[in-house]
């Protein structure tokens, strides 16, 4: 644990791991969806090529400083969040700064990026971007509530607000929280597709109506940064779920298995779903997920 050099090396390794895993997951998603649609689909490393290609675009345009900073905010958020999440339960490289943040902090730092992204999208002046932002923020209010309820239920039940603390409790008890607090898990699980913004909750991007929404004016290096950030963030979200509900992971293989299993859930749901309208999405989140969230809270408190 000692040594600033190890710390930096660990941070870099974690980021690289998150990037790689996230990219492959996105590739798998494309492949899986293709197979479901009876297509061959792109190779699983396709997303690396996409990012590389976008990065090697010779020109890029922006509409001002906020648009320039927007991808930056996103990737800063993803990487910083990653720093505060225990990727593996213990180990030299993959725990990073997780002792100096807690769940509430994570919740808040996770909106840092979208807010910056929204500002950048706003500056482009493209109406599609603004509409996308409006939808995205609305949807966020929708899914955050059941998700937060689940988290608060855990925190109240186990009297700790830190992820590390919750991990320790799981390894002490020997059960995962998805079994010891099933209601919270269900609420969190129901809110999860909203977080991933896959169908039926892909109302932000919605290529068919909004021309990809907030990112419609981003190209080249900006878009590549955003895709990188997106893959890291997907990994972050999955790891957080695994840490909270599935007992974390003590080695990378376990981590990959658990996160991949979890990842299949929004992917498969999305593969066979059409798209909600914004208000339908919010109503969905404020329906059953909210009910399970309440149930979880009551279960936790009494």
């Amino acid at each position: 644990m000692e040594g600033i050099g190890y710390k930096i090396l660990g941070a870099l390794l974690t980021t690289l791991l998150a990037f790689t895993v996230g990219m492959f997951y996105a590739g798998f998603r494309r492949k899986i969806i293709a197979r479901i649609q009876n297509r061959v689909g792109p190779p699983v490393y396709q997303n690396f090529l996409d990012v590389l290609k976008l990065l090697s675009k010779k020109t890029s345009v922006n509409h001002g400083i906020m648009q320039h900073l927007a991808p930056l905010w996103l990737i800063t958020m993803s990487v910083s969040t990653l720093m505060f999440i225990p990727v593996l339960k213990d180990g030299l490289f993959f725990t990073n700064l997780n002792f100096s943040g807690d769940l509430i902090f994570l919740l808040y730092i996770m909106v840092f990026g979208p807010l910056g992204m929204a500002l950048g999208a706003g500056q482009t002046g493209n109406p599609n971007s603004a509409i996308g932002v409006s939808r995205g923020l609305t949807q966020m209010v929708g899914f955050e509530i059941p998700w937060i309820m689940a988290i608060v239920a855990l925190m109240i039940q186990y009297k700790t607000t830190s992820v590390t603390g919750l991990l320790d409790i799981q390894s002490q008890n020997g059960t995962w929280m998805m079994f010891s607090s099933p209601l919270a898990f269900i609420a969190a699980l129901l809110a999860m597709p909203g977080m991933f913004r896959y169908a039926p909750f892909d109302i932000v991007g919605a290529p068919a109506e909004l021309a990809s929404g907030p990112i419609s004016e981003f190209g080249g290096k900006y878009l590549s940064t955003m895709m990188t950030s997106g893959s890291i963030f997907a990994f972050v979200k999955l790891t957080l779920y695994v840490d909270l509900f599935m007992g974390g992971a003590s080695n990378l293989i376990e981590l990959v298995i658990k996160t991949f299993a979890l990842y299949m859930y929004p992917v498969l749901w999305g593969a066979v779903s059409p798209r909600f309208r914004t208000e339908q999405a919010v109503r969905y989140f404020w329906g059953w997920p909210l009910f399970f969230g309440f149930a979880a809270l009551i279960y936790a408190a009494f």
Binding site: T59, V79, F84, Q123, T138
Partner: protein, 613 residues
């Protein structure tokens, strides 16, 4: 003479000086105002003796002035925010008329606030409270908009609050024979239950009204948005904190000590409901000033919740949020004022794309909005974190959810504010808009620097809060310069946060800027992908009307019931009753004579009931 009295006299003197200065000419008046903005805080910081007390007797009532640490904390807000707002006002009010009245009322409201915070007895508290009320009323109606509706509504609600306090005060006097705050707090335990509740709740009502707690918040949106923005920053930032100040000592000193915690809990619930509903209202405002007004109400809701819960961490959070709210809402109202002055409107459906015209204002607003939204690494997060942790530690899980809902929904209006005014397509109409004068931007930037520092080193504020909380009975409050800790021992190290975010940000900033630097082009906001159509300069494609329509559809069942409507209907009903009463005076001499006779007859008939024989 005592330094406290001198302070009061200095402020009053400057008020008169500004008024008369402005009636001579503008320069003289402005010099007086500037001197006030510099000298009043200078005197406060260097010469005021905080251990001093002044007591005197007027009209048989003993009165005493003297700071305690709790009052000093709030004075700090007043003494830092008000001078900045005054300097801002020098720029903002440059072309207005009747500036004399403006600065007179402004300084008098500072006097009122200063006085409230050093009052140790109810009489002087009430006197200064009322001075604050009427001076702010004069500012609310200063622009002459909506005088009948907003002005009267503000005054009526303020009066209701003040008179509730007044009633409590006289009842306290009846029961203790003294007007001193401390005598009341000490005697409170011995009161009968009825008196406990009556006085406590009346005081609480009075203070809660000033801090715009639902359902007595209706004065606030109009009052905040109608006032000249130079004052609104103080109005929302400092003046509403007087209510928080009062709630603090009522809830903690009374209810906690007398084991009436549930009263505090009710207050906390009201605060949470306020936060949620006001946030929802803020989201659908089209006027930036109205949006900020509702947002203020919502933020005050958090603070009130923190105070109402009454644990150490929650009060700490409430007070910290109070300080922070003063700073960021100060900036935001100033920014709205700057936009109003430079671009002529704060209607977010009209004004767009000012970011390149007013970059400093935008930067200050951005920092303030991040702090408001509670996103790390700025100071707002610290307050939010402490509030949540205290609520979770306390097991108030439903309240946590409401606060979370409110602050998540707060992102919506936060974004709308920045987007509506500064982002979006640039319009030829605002081609010639200039950045506001340095008098206006410097106060904003100073406050935003403060917000940035508190993100990593909130300890500079914690110090004063911890001092102040000793007067609420919380001794030895633990605080560290940049580590937050909750009751369960979980902590957040803010320096690590800032460092991590900062390093990642800088690394990627360098990368993103350096990569293809020469081949990165700036294009105008009219150059967007719009199916190949060329957008003419006069076409504005910015999406700003009905910005959150889907969300509005979701919330329609909640929002369609407006509490204002009930008040209005109540008002109409009362008006009809008054009209009926007015009919008694028919204007007919015979009728009046008839009344006299009837009255006499009634008295004679019932004389046995009246006199007993």
């Amino acid at each position: 003479m005592s330094s406290l009295v001198i302070l009061i006299l200095i402020i009053a003197g400057f008020a008169l000086l500004s008024y008369f200065g402005h009636s001579i000419n503008k320069t003289a008046g402005n010099i007086a105002v500037f001197a006030a903005a510099v000298l009043i805080p200078l005197y406060w910081f260097t010469r005021v003796d905080f251990s001093e007390t002044v007591s005197f007797t007027i009209s048989g009532f003993q009165m005493e002035l003297g700071y305690n640490m709790y009052g000093k904390l709030f004075s700090l807000i007043v003494m830092i925010l008000s001078p900045l707002a005054l300097i801002y006002a020098l720029g903002y009010m440059k072309d207005s008329k009747r500036t004399g009245t403006f600065y007179f009322s402004f300084l008098f409201s500072i006097l009122g606030m200063t006085g409230i915070l050093m009052s140790r007895d109810f009489i002087s508290l009430f006197i200064f409270w009322e001075i604050m009320t009427w001076s702010s009323y004069l500012l609310v109606i200063f622009l002459g908009k909506d005088v009948e509706k907003t002005g009267i509504r503000y005054m009526v609600f303020s009066a209701l609050g003040a008179y509730a306090m007044f009633m409590a005060i006289v009842i306290i006097h009846r029961n203790t024979g003294s007007m001193m705050l401390n005598d009341y707090f000490n005697a409170f335990g011995n009161f009968s239950t009825g008196t406990k509740f009556l006085t406590g709740i009346l005081l609480m009502f009075g203070f809660a009204l000033k801090s715009a707690v639902m359902p007595v918040h209706v004065w606030a949106p109009g009052a905040y948005s109608n006032t000249p923005m130079a004052y609104t920053s103080v109005f929302s930032g400092a003046l509403s904190k007087m209510g928080v100040y009062g709630l603090g000592f009522v809830v903690i000193n009374l209810f906690a000590h007398a084991n009436l915690h549930f009263a505090g809990t009710i207050l906390a619930w009201l605060g949470a409901v306020t936060a949620v509903l006001a946030t929802f209202s803020a989201i659908f405002q089209d006027d930036a000033k109205k949006l900020l007004a509702y947002s203020s109400i919502a933020q005050l809701g958090y603070i009130v919740t923190g105070i109402g819960i009454g644990t150490e961490l929650s009060i700490f959070a409430g007070l910290y949020l109070a300080v922070l709210h003063a700073a960021f809402k100060g900036v935001l109202f100033m920014a709205a004022g700057a936009v109003e002055r430079q671009a002529g409107s704060t209607d977010m459906t009209e004004v767009t794309g000012l970011i390149r015209k007013m970059p400093l204002t935008f930067f200050a607003s951005l920092v303030a909005i991040i702090a408001l939204a509670g996103v790390p690494p700025l100071g707002g997060f610290v307050g939010k974190w402490m509030l949540y942790e205290s609520l979770i530690n306390n097991g108030n899980f439903l309240m946590v959810i409401m606060i979370f809902l409110s602050s998540t929904a707060a992102f919506l209006y936060s974004y709308k504010f920045l987007f509506g005014l500064f982002l979006g397509q640039e319009e030829p109409e605002f081609e010639n808009v200039k950045e506001a004068s340095p008098l206006m931007t410097i106060p904003m930037l100073l406050l935003s620097v403060f917000l940035m520092i508190t993100g990593s080193f909130p300890g500079i504020v914690f110090k004063y809060i911890a001092e102040g909380m000793t007067d609420l009975g919380f001794h030895d409050v633990n605080w560290q310069m940049s580590v937050l800790t909750n009751a369960w021992g979980d902590s957040v190290n803010l320096q690590h946060v800032t460092l991590s975010i900062g390093v990642v940000f800088v690394v990627f900033l360098i990368f993103l800027t350096w990569k293809g630097y020469k081949k990165t082009y700036y294009v105008s906001t009219k150059d967007i992908s719009s199916s190949g159509e060329v957008i003419k300069p006069e076409d504005n494609m910015t999406y700003s009307t009905d910005f959150y329509k889907p969300f509005e559809r979701v919330l329609h069942p909640i929002l369609k019931r407006k509490i204002e409507k009930y008040y209005d209907e109540f008002g109409e009903g009362i008006g009809a009753l008054f009209d009926f009463m007015r009919r008694i005076y028919t204007g007919n001499g015979q009728t009046y004579a008839f009344y006299v006779i009837v009255f006499l007859v009634i008295l004679l008939v019932f004389s046995k009931n009246i006199f007993g024989y």
